[in-house]
Symmetry: C2
Subunit: 141 residues, 2 copies
DNA sequence: CTTGAAAGATTCAAACTAGAAATATTGAGG
DNA sequence: CCTCAATATTTCTAGTTTGAATCTTTCAAG
């Protein structure tokens, strides 16, 4: 049986590692993004825009507040990378859609992000394990 | 052999999960921190102050810039939770030390953080796996 | 039809963070 | 002794992120 102190230490280290890796990913994104004239947040938004979606959904995917998503989308819209369309069924909502320029830039971004990814140190099998563990940790609301 | 598209998707999902969990931890810390009159960053600093260390070392542990660590320490110092002492051997550096109040508050914080941790959904064995995977992903660079 | 609670999006102010420049110190060489 | 690059920290500014308030629309209940 582990001493309570050991459990606390393990908890702290794990938090540090998760935070550290997230930061490392964020830096990786930032570095690639600047090559394309984007900020890290803008690139993350572009990465998560896998298809038409609402502002809330994008915010959820970006793990940020909707107000911040609005701010980021404003910037992308000014660069003509994203369009705000009226939502087909809900007039409260806006549907975010990539423009052709946005779509091609997104492809370039994904190609860049794939290179030297912080996750590349793990094998496909290990990435799967990580995926499962994270998903399980995360579904516990 | 997986299609290149599948690899890109897996990469994106994994990034999202890591980010999401980091955000979840951050929110967890924030919620417990406010109970003690601290911000999330201040609580993280307190959590990582396992002993006397320099500003740079704390920044490294917090995964932030030294300038930000300075800002956070300023706040903790005003609350008499941390002291800046001259470093015993390097006069350029400062040694950060918890005051008695800081130490007791840190203990309370760790106890709070242990409750309902986002990582609690994983067994001890799974947490070990996660620890190993994250460490391997992080040691590159 | 009307009311009221709730959800989607936006605005605004306040707080936080990173990045670059500035200060002080160290250590290696000349 | 002196110089110069490198390190540790801090200051300052600009940009990002959050949280609260607001506006519009939806939906359910009366």
């Amino acid at each position: 049986m582990a001493a309570p102190q050991a459990r606390v230490t393990a908890e702290r280290e794990l938090c540090g590692l998760v935070n550290g890796l997230a930061h490392q990913i964020s830096e990786h994104v930032r570095e690639r993004a600047t090559r394309l004239g984007l900020t890290a947040a803008q690139a993350t938004a572009l990465r998560e825009l896998t298809g038409p979606m609402t502002t809330s959904e994008l915010a959820e995917r970006m793990s940020c507040e909707p107000s911040n998503a609005t701010f980021v989308i404003d910037k992308l819209e000014k660069q003509q990378l994203v369009e705000r369309r009226p939502h087909p069924t809900d007039r409260r909502a806006r549907q975010l859609v990539l423009t052709p320029e946005g779509s091609t830039l997104r492809d370039k971004l994904l190609a860049l992000l794939e290179q030297d990814s912080p996750l590349a140190g793990l094998s496909a099998r290990e990435q799967d394990s990580l995926h499962n563990l994270l998903q399980r940790a995360r579904t516990r609301r």
